[in-house]
């Protein structure tokens, strides 16, 4: 333990199992005041589970739990909160129907002597806090109306400014753009100086190395190493995570990559002059069979809206979609699906049924292919099992409720829904968000395989790496307009960032 400071939090021999499955086995974990502690590990390694124990969400486990050296047992998340522990969960847990200000103050709104909420004061203070964090938004707007990245920022802001001594961030950056990540890191460093202990979970190992003082690696519910960030490298961490050499798995994309010559296969989708108030302006492009089109841009550049329009969830104000030569106006998502379009949105929550078993989640979008009137559960399970195997979803039990899978495995299920009967056009928003390096690689291979089978694929992402690793041709979207197209030319992370 460096410098011999007294840990603010200490866990000893933590074991936690869900039914028969052990999610954590004998984990020791200590957190010092004024440290940023990075946590990495594959999907399902047990990171979120450990953090939920600290935050009082999981209360049944074995092992010792000490705060300031004194043994403690939380009975609820409220106990943890009272002890100064605040957490940003991997799954966004904001209240979409409340205002931004209410979300910032969730649970401790300022009240006057009569116990009435002081709205004006709340709005003002919320606005101040958010703008300190570089967020410019009307505190009285409904949170659910904002883009998901902004919602995530607001939730982070709420937790960071809650005055907690221990702040836990479970994959907070997955929906943020690079400048926002930068702002987050600046704030984290400031909090560290004030003595706050911070746990930071991410699959972006560069980020972890850049911001954290100590890194702990988890594998299969066990802690495998803990080192000072300065003493380790990305390759070493990946190797510890997956238990074999990981250099081949991650590229940094800082060097130029040459995009191939544009394909001249048949046009599956033609988008012509698409416009949507305040989101998209005259967007036109084509997607061809056997080609991956990447669309890159910062958060709020109109990607989300574009993907919704392609899948019939949103109606554009102007412009046309031409699918395989026929102009289409999708009246519903069902119509889009019938026309051969499939979408994996960036939010798992929007795509999955948490209280239903995995196999029902996978079969839902193809039920009409396997049954006309009566369900065929055996066949559904069969299909689901194949996808679970192919995507290496853990644990490989198709009868398990989806909510029991780790975040990254849920993301794989979202993709699995469309793979049994591949569509003609597959639209993927942030397909690798929340996935560990191995899983990201799997997704990259799956997408390449689908491309080889002649699908037209559109990948929309705010992460340059995702687009670079998948796309044959890249459009850059900025404030709702296509500002640059990269094709048959060198491209790199820097070039993309510059164009956006």
């Amino acid at each position: 333990m460096p410098e011999g400071r007294q840990p603010i939090l200490e866990l000893q021999g933590i074991t936690k199992s869900f039914g028969g499955v052990e999610a954590l086995r004998g984990v020791d974990f200590a957190l010092l005041p004024g440290e940023i502690h990075g946590l990495v590990g594959e999907n399902g390694a047990g990171k979120s589970t450990l953090m939920k124990i600290i935050a009082g969400v999981h209360t049944e486990f074995s092992g010792r739990f000490l705060i300031d050296g004194a043994e403690t047992h939380f009975r609820s998340a409220r106990d943890a909160h009272a002890a100064g522990i605040a957490m940003v969960h991997q799954e966004l847990s904001v209240a979409p129907d409340l205002t931004v200000a209410e979300n910032v103050f969730l649970g401790n709104q300022p009240t006057n002597a009569l116990g009435l909420v002081q709205w004006r004061r709340m709005a003002r203070e919320a606005g101040e806090q958010l703008s300190r964090f570089g967020i410019d938004v009307d505190p009285m707007s409904r949170l659910g109306d904002l883009p998901i990245g902004l919602q995530q920022l607001i939730e982070i802001a709420r937790v960071l400014f809650s005055g907690a001594r221990i702040v836990i961030l479970d994959e907070p950056t997955s929906a943020l753009s690079p400048p926002e990540v930068e702002r987050l890191f600046t704030t984290l460093r400031r909090l560290r100086e004030q003595g706050t202990a911070i746990v930071f979970i991410s699959h972006f190992i560069e980020d972890i190395l850049r911001v954290s003082d100590t890194v702990t690696v988890f594998r299969n519910g066990r802690k495998v190493t803990e080192t000072a960030s300065a003493d380790t490298t990305k390759g070493a961490l990946i190797e510890a995570m997956i238990g074999r050499g990981g250099e081949a798995l991650e590229h940094s994309y800082s060097d130029d990559l040459i995009l191939p010559r544009p394909s001249d296969s048949s046009v599956v989708l033609k988008v012509d002059q698409l416009s949507l108030t305040r989101s998209l302006q005259d967007v036109s492009f084509e997607a061809r069979a056997g080609e991956v089109l990447g669309i890159y841009g910062f958060m709020g550049c109109g990607q989300q809206e574009l993907s919704r329009i392609l899948f019939g969830k949103l109606k554009p104000d102007a412009g046309t979609l031409i699918v395989e030569g026929k102009p289409k106006t999708f009246a519903s998502t069902a119509a889009a699906r019938r026309a051969g379009v499939a979408l994996v949105p960036e939010s798992r929550r929007a795509m999955l049924f948490h209280q239903e078993p995995v196999f029902k989640n996978i079969s839902i979008s193809i039920l009409d292919r396997i049954s006309s009137l009566l369900l065929k559960p055996a066949q559904e399970r069969e299909i689901a099992k194949r996808q679970v195997e192919q995507l290496q979803i853990r644990p490989p039990v198709v009868g398990l409720d989806l909510g029991m899978l780790s975040g990254g495995n849920q993301q794989k299920v979202a993709l699995a829904k469309w793979l049994t009967y591949p569509p003609k056009l597959l639209v993927l928003c942030e397909p690798t968000r929340g996935m560990d390096v191995g899983a990201k690689n799997d997704v990259i291979n799956i997408v390449r395989d689908l491309r080889a089978r002649g699908l037209a694929i559109i990948v929309l992402s705010t992460e340059p790496e995702t687009v670079l690793s998948l796309a044959d041709r890249i459009l850059v979207l900025k404030r709702g307009a296509v500002v640059r197209e990269f094709k048959n030319e060198p491209v790199s992370k820097d070039r993309l960032l510059e164009a956006a």
Partner: protein
């Protein structure tokens, strides 16, 4: 019901009995309530626990049961239908309106052959359900408001048809099913049982049934899975109206008369049956099995209170309190389940 398919996982849970029970709270609590109420009334009154009285209870809950089948679909989709009782009423009145009445009945009605009368009545309730469906899905009026308006509209049509009078005659098929019996078993009980069974089979074994659960479980996810959510919501509103209509026709035959405001208590009773049975008000959880238990709880309660000596005005209050308790359990069960899934 739907959750029983996680059984393989439950089998692996060595010490997981407590979480399992917690997640099954919604199915267990109504059952315990039923056992408790039955035991209480059996103890309090010797005339309660008899075969005859069981028959009474079954007959008493039959109309509610028929209406509750459709309502179960609606609530599973996290919607509500407040027009069920009014639609039952207007359909019952309509079938009488198209039947030849005795000369002393002073209604300017249109007598038709029985089959035509039944067909028109069914078309009427289906049409009203379709209006509900269009209001909800095409215009986007929340079902709570849309069906509140429909409640008034259906009551208005009833009023125009009977004009304050009472009609007595219904087609012979309806009167047999509503008030006849076969081998000592009332037809109305058999019809209710068949409708409940059919509802259960549709919800459990058909693709449509699965869609109902999925739409109720997470509507946004259903949409992103490419389901036609509006079509499914529209369909459940029509199903609800048709079930209500059938319940209304049987009820009119059962009561022996068709008049205004005859079904007013059925709105609360049907909602209570579905919710007390444990079907989640937030959608996606529960089913006809729950509704059947709910019907029995309600039937035992209503019937049992008649067997013990208490103020009949107090009975109304007691029913209200029991309903409140059931609602609390319903909401609480949802929370426990979510916790169990953390």
């Amino acid at each position: 019901m739907a959750s029983s398919e996680t059984a393989p996982a439950a089998g692996q849970r060595g010490k997981g009995l407590a979480p399992f029970l917690r997640s099954q709270m919604r199915n267990i609590a109504p059952f315990l309530t039923l056992i408790f109420l039955s035991a209480f009334f059996a103890f309090a009154s010797p005339s309660f626990a008899t075969i005859d009285n069981l028959g009474n209870i079954l007959t008493q809950v039959s109309v509610t049961g028929v209406i509750a089948v459709g309502l179960t679909f609606v609530i599973l989709c996290a919607e509500i239908d407040l027009s069920i009782a009014s639609i039952a009423n207007v359909t019952g009145i309509a079938v009488a309106y198209f039947t030849l009445q005795e000369s002393y009945v002073n209604i300017p009605n249109i007598p038709l052959p029985g089959a035509a009368a039944i067909l028109l009545a069914v078309l009427l309730c289906a049409a009203l359900g379709l209006v509900n469906a269009l209001g909800l899905t095409v215009i986007g009026i929340p079902s709570f408001i849309m069906t509140l308006a429909m409640m008034q509209i259906a009551a208005g049509i009833s009023a125009l048809l009977v004009r304050g009078q009472i009609a007595y005659k219904v087609p012979s098929l309806i009167s047999t099913l509503g008030s006849g019996s076969i081998g000592g078993i009332p037809w109305i009980v058999i019809v209710a049982a068949i409708m409940l069974l059919a509802g259960h089979l549709v919800l459990t074994y058909t693709r449509f049934g699965r869609y109902v659960y999925m739409v109720g479980g997470n509507r946004e996810a259903a949409e992103y899975s490419g389901l036609n959510v509006k079509l499914i919501l529209g369909a459940v509103m029509v199903i609800s109206a048709v079930c209500s209509g059938v319940g209304g026709m049987l009820g009119v035959a059962h009561f022996g008369s068709a008049q205004q405001n005859e079904f007013d208590t059925y709105l609360l009773d049907s909602i209570a049956a579905v919710v007390v049975g444990g079907t989640s008000l937030f959608g996606g959880r529960g089913g006809i099995g729950n509704t059947i238990v709910g019907l029995f709880v309600l039937g035992v309660l209503n019937n049992g209170l008649d067997h013990v000596n208490i103020d009949s005005f107090l009975k109304i209050l007691i029913r209200g309190v029991i309903l409140l308790v059931a609602l609390i359990i319903n909401v609480y069960a949802q929370r426990l389940r979510e916790q169990a899934a953390e």
